[in-house]
């Protein structure tokens, strides 16, 4: 009998594993089109979103209706024009045209100076200007109304200078971490979490189903190959691609978006790999349970994309959500990863400030991987 000796079994297993990993890499590398997409698309997104997205509200289109047309309204209009918050699109002749302009979406807000505005101010010491905001977007309405009010407050302060205003409190505001209120410091960590999560999950979700669909799974299962090796071999190329993606993103945000890693790069990369592994495990779970590639992809896209987008916390604050959703948000790995990137990359804090998040990610990763391992069926139906 020529059975291999027991001490050689381990070695043989390792060799098998490496052969299999090599096969997976070859398969991935051979498909140039997919490879180009896997690298090109995340990069394009980071650059596009980093430059284009911003929460700052400026250049809002507004309409002015001036029934008074005196020196004071001209002065106020001049002040409104001078601010970069507003883009005065048209001076309407009358308020009747407002509804039409709002309905076409031409303007976001209208400022109306009633008749005798200046006279009232001079003679009675009081004048009221009317502001109508298109509140279909509530935040924009609130913000631009606030901007306008602050312009009027400035004007009042000017008026008051002659009258010697008493007891003036002067708030001095300092914008920390992001003084120019750029969108990128918030969106880059968010998009990083989003892109890594989706790319990892999707790539992996297809991996095992594809073998099932093509019928090659049968061959793998009848071979003397341990199921765990199949899984490891499937994950290896995806892990590598994701890590390369991560480095490209970090370099891009440093070079193009002026967002260097302020904290320890080592810590950030370590946490990122942990996050990537978690996402790969989710993909694995999806892949094991889906019957077709299409179902797996739909599951990872429909099931992951919007929840990740919304529950990560970079678009909407989690503390505003109903309690049930806050609990749900805790289950989304990208939520924790997003906090880690913000703390380490943007604020430059150390491990002490993110140990909790790291621990949660590690727990999720272990749990998901164990479940998928348990669910991996070694028999075909």
């Amino acid at each position: 009998m020529n059975w291999p000796e027991t001490r050689n079994v381990k070695e043989t297993n390792m060799r098998q594993l490496f052969t299999f990993i090599r096969k997976e890499f070859l398969q991935v590398l051979r498909d140039r089109k997919t490879l180009l997409m896997l690298f090109g698309l995340p990069i394009a997104q980071i650059v596009l979103f980093g430059f284009a997205l911003s929460n700052e509200i400026k250049d809002s289109r507004i309409a002015l209706v001036d029934y008074s047309k005196d020196a004071i309204t001209t002065r106020l209009i001049g002040k409104i024009e001078a601010s970069h918050y507003f883009d005065i699109r048209r001076s309407l002749a009358g308020a009747e045209q407002l509804n039409a302009a709002f309905k076409r979406g031409d303007i976001r807000m209208a400022v109306i100076f009633p008749q005798n505005f200046g006279d009232d101010l001079i003679h009675t010491g009081k004048a009221t200007l009317q502001v109508i905001a298109d509140a279909s977007d509530p935040n924009q309405a609130t913000t631009i109304t606030n901007y306008l009010e602050s312009i009027v407050t400035d004007y009042n302060a000017e008026l008051a200078k002659d009258a010697q205003q008493s007891l003036q409190i002067q708030p001095e505001v300092q914008m920390l971490y992001n003084p120019e209120l750029r969108g990128a410091p918030n969106f880059v960590p968010g998009v990083m979490a989003l892109v890594l999560m989706l790319v990892c999950t999707m790539m992996t979700s297809v991996a095992i189903v594809r073998e099932k669909e093509l019928g090659t799974m049968e061959i793998l299962l009848v071979s003397p190959f341990k199921p765990i090796y199949i899984i490891i071999a499937k994950l290896a190329p995806n892990l590598l691609i994701s890590i390369v993606n991560l480095f490209i993103i970090l370099v891009l945000s440093d070079v193009f978006l002026d967002l260097p890693v302020k904290g320890s790069v080592f810590l950030l990369v370590g946490c990122s790999i942990l996050f990537i592994l978690t996402c790969l495990s989710i993909g694995l779970l999806l892949s094991i349970n889906a019957k077709t590639q299409q179902a797996a992809m739909m599951g990872s896209l429909m099931g992951m994309m919007l929840p990740t987008m919304l529950l990560t916390g970079f678009l909407f604050p989690i503390e505003n959500m109903p309690v049930a959703l806050q609990v749900l948000a805790n289950l989304v790995p990208s939520r924790w990863y997003f906090i880690i990137i913000k703390q380490v990359m943007m604020k430059g804090l150390g491990f002490a400030s993110v140990w909790k998040e790291t621990l949660i990610l590690a727990g999720m990763c272990t749990l998901l991987f164990t479940i998928s391992l348990r669910n991996f069926k070694i028999r075909l139906q």
Partner: protein, 384 residues
């Protein structure tokens, strides 16, 4: 024509047969539509504030009480020193820090002016903007109250001699009367639900048509169709109609959910909405088709459609305003069909806009649709 009917029968059968897929296609968007608007709430409340009161005067106490009573702010820290408050901002336990310096009240009375220090975590732009604006307006109100009180005190306590210098004749004031049209209660759901519905329809329409064709490529059945005398455009129309129907069904379900759950009744006419929907689906199915002609495997189709959908979701004005993007980005966004449809949805549902108001968007979508579909048909080769 007869060929088309047979093709449609085949497509619908295939679609209806795959229960797992059908479930995902219909249920996943619905569940999301039910849950997500709850998450997409950006009404700014619960801004966490850390306060350092180095003054401990009645005035500083009143200011803090006024801030916490406003309903926008949640006092999460009352620290002894300003660095400690800043530390809380650093650890994300507070969004902004306010310092009331020592001798605030005394200096305010003596020197007639005094600073307050505010530090805002500006990583999150909207919160920083609105939080800062709210805090400033509360401080402004407080300032006015203080003045009135001070004037009264000086008048009653020390007679008229001093009150004249402290501003008996008030300076002229311009006040602002603001009103919010179309959404007077600033309900965020009204704004988000129509847009989220569009993103869900987008995902189904653009992706499924791409997948469907690529699946035929992968399984080899497209060869059989290619060798048959079925004309290119008939084949493509046959692929499009089922997904058009699916999109309309999904959209209708979404409108119902919006109505039953969030009480959103479109102000405008349903006809305008559905006409726009069909034009929109035409454009998006064209995109799906185009992607299908460029991919050989489902994996490729998926990566490509994922790329587009992600970009559409992030840049079409669902979450952030298109107006505040740089000019080049606005030009790019103009070529995205969802940006137009989202605008149409929002204006029709909230403001009741009619055809004449949304014509520019409708034309833009139609033009993009014709362009994409022509490109797709030209690029689709019956030879493998």
């Amino acid at each position: 024509m007869k060929t088309l009917v047979f093709l449609l029968e085949k497509e619908f059968r295939q679609l209806l047969r795959n229960r797992q897929l059908l479930r995902t296609l219909l249920l996943a968007p619905l569940i999301q539509l039910i849950l997500l608007p709850l998450a997409a709430d950006y009404s700014v409340k619960n801004i966490n504030i850390a306060v350092t009161d180095n003054d401990h005067s009645p005035s500083s106490q009143r200011l803090i009480a006024k801030i916490t009573a406003s309903g926008y702010f949640r006092l999460t820290g009352y620290t002894a020193s300003y660095p400690a408050a800043l530390k809380m901002v650093e650890q994300d336990k507070a969004d902004l820090a306010l310092q009331i310096p020592a001798h605030f009240e005394r200096d305010l009375v003596r020197e007639n002016t005094k600073q307050l220090y505010i530090a805002i975590n500006a990583i999150e732009g909207t919160k920083a903007n609105l939080g800062g604006a709210y805090l400033r307006s509360i401080i402004g109100d407080f300032n006015d109250d203080l003045r009135v009180q001070w004037n009264m005190m000086t008048e009653t306590g020390q007679g008229n001699a001093i009150s004249a210098s402290a501003g008996q004749d008030d300076p002229p004031q311009v006040s602002v009367a603001s009103s919010n049209w179309y959404n007077p209660f600033l309900n965020f759901h009204l704004y988000m639900v129509p847009a989220i519905l569009v993103t869900l329809v987008t995902a189904i329409a653009a992706m499924q048509s791409a997948f469907n064709i690529v699946q035929e490529k992968e399984s080899g059945t497209i060869e059989q169709i290619n060798v048959s005398p079925i004309k290119k455009h008939i084949f493509i129309i046959g692929k499009m109609i089922p997904f058009l129907a699916l999109g309309i069904l999904l959209f209708t379900m979404g409108l119902l959910v919006g109505r039953l759950l969030y009480g959103i009744v479109p102000v405008g006419s349903l006809l305008v909405l559905y006409v726009s929907l069909v034009v929109y689906l035409f454009a998006m199915l064209g995109l799906g088709l185009l992607l299908a002609t460029y991919s050989n495997t489902q994996m490729q189709a998926m990566s490509l459609s994922f790329f587009f959908i992600n970009i559409f979701n992030m840049m079409s004005g669902v979450f952030t305003s298109i107006d505040s993007m740089p000019g080049w980005a606005q030009a790019i966004v103009f070529t995205f069909p969802p940006s137009h449809f989202i605008k149409i949805m929002r204006t029709v549902v909230l403001k009741g806009s009619g055809f004449s108001d949304i014509m520019p968007e409708l034309w833009a979508m139609a033009a993009i649709g014709v362009f994409l579909n022509t490109w797709a048909v030209l690029n689709y080769r019956k030879t493998a």
